[in-house]
Amino acid sequence: MGAQTNTIDKAWTLQTPEHVLAARDLVGNDFSLCYQCGLCTGSCRTAYAMKYTPRQIMNLLQLGREDEAIAGGSGLLCTACFACTFRCPRGVAITDLMGAIQRLTLHQKHADPHIQDFYRAFMRTVERHGRFHEAEFVVRYYAPNPLRLREDIRLALMLLTKGKVTLKAPKVKSRKGIAAMFRKAVEIEGRP
């Protein structure tokens, strides 16, 4: 799917539905143990905005319809608060499964470009500097679509006037090593 110009996109490309189905390396139980009680959905603050709720996604995975779960885009609304995982009476690793669905969705062309660009811009600054770098994030996030600034202008002004914007890059001594961690993660996750 296009040229992979950075580690983040490479990491997304590596995600396959098999990752979700095999529940590779998950801590906690996989979706097959879900008995559809719905406590996850009841605990989820963003479920109201999802096409498929967490319970429905577990069901879609059980039915082998992971493509439907991915295409629905619900994974992108998971805030990773882990309330569902914590409460699940069957010990299913719901948040991590939602995370896997999220990565699969982000790899797709039709994924919400705001979210895709946000994730990419955020993690690129962490990859390059070891920490989140605000100023660089702003450039990376708004450059693909400067119209986004229209929605965020009030927020930007508030951050500036309240002295909450740092232009200087964070100084992490091991930043090169941290960038190497990103590449290593792609290498390991790409292993058969």
Binding site: T46, F86, H114, M123, E134, V172
Partner: protein, 303 residues
Amino acid sequence: MKYVYYPGCSASTTSKEAEESLQAAMKALGVEWTELEDWNCCGAAIGIGTSYLLSIALPARNLALAERAESELVTGCSRCFLNLIRAIHYTHENPKVHEEVNELLAETGVQYSGTARLRHILDVIVYDVGLDVVAERVTQPLNGLRVAPYYGCCQGMWTYAQFDSTENPHCFDQLLATLGAEVVDYELKTACCGGTISLYKRSVGANLIGDLLAGASHADCIITACPQCLFNLNSFQREAGKIKGTKFNIPVLFLTQMMGIAFGLPKKALGLQRNPVPVDSLYEKIAAGAAVSSGAAGASRPK
């Protein structure tokens, strides 16, 4: 007890007031610590959407650094805490994940052995410093001030399991009561504020924030234990109000800002000028409360 402090990205960028007040309040309480040397971002809520392994290895590097410093790792950010405790748990439960995490960490010349001790700032204040010591430090009791503690989604997973009830935590209530405030209860006090969703999906994020603000609207202010929640609840009151058909103007403070006010620390040291919703009304209410209960002897006891 030796501590190393992990600020996290949020407290060092968009929520500087959390960091400033935390340092000031801890100094007032006599807690000594050094900043974790060369710490890195824990991946926030974004790491998990990039790579499963990275979302464990990024926080694990900070744990490895804390092991090297032979100190307990303290963070004032609930999101960081969640990621760090998840890394501890996952590497403990799954040897293969632990091995792969160390393979990643080798790139930065450290290894995580699994002995790191992690603490949340609330835990340190309430159980290490102690509420009696906090009470002694109060010079300006918050009498007459109705405060809503916002625990946030630290309730998720193991955060409060470490030192409090997961479904009905109370340590934050006790701390605020010790400062002399009247603690108000509301339903969503342990619900997620949406984290970064407010930035890339404003309609959903503002709606979640609106529910929280509406739920706690009978309080004079909301107090958070996480810089990210602080940013969210403060920055999007206008958008949240539009969705809920009302106008919100509720001051939202970080817990050490509220403590600092009760300790009589200067406003500037607490970063109060950075709070998007002005906090001056709180000082007026505290002054009015002090006038009413001029004989009040320090802090009221926790339940």
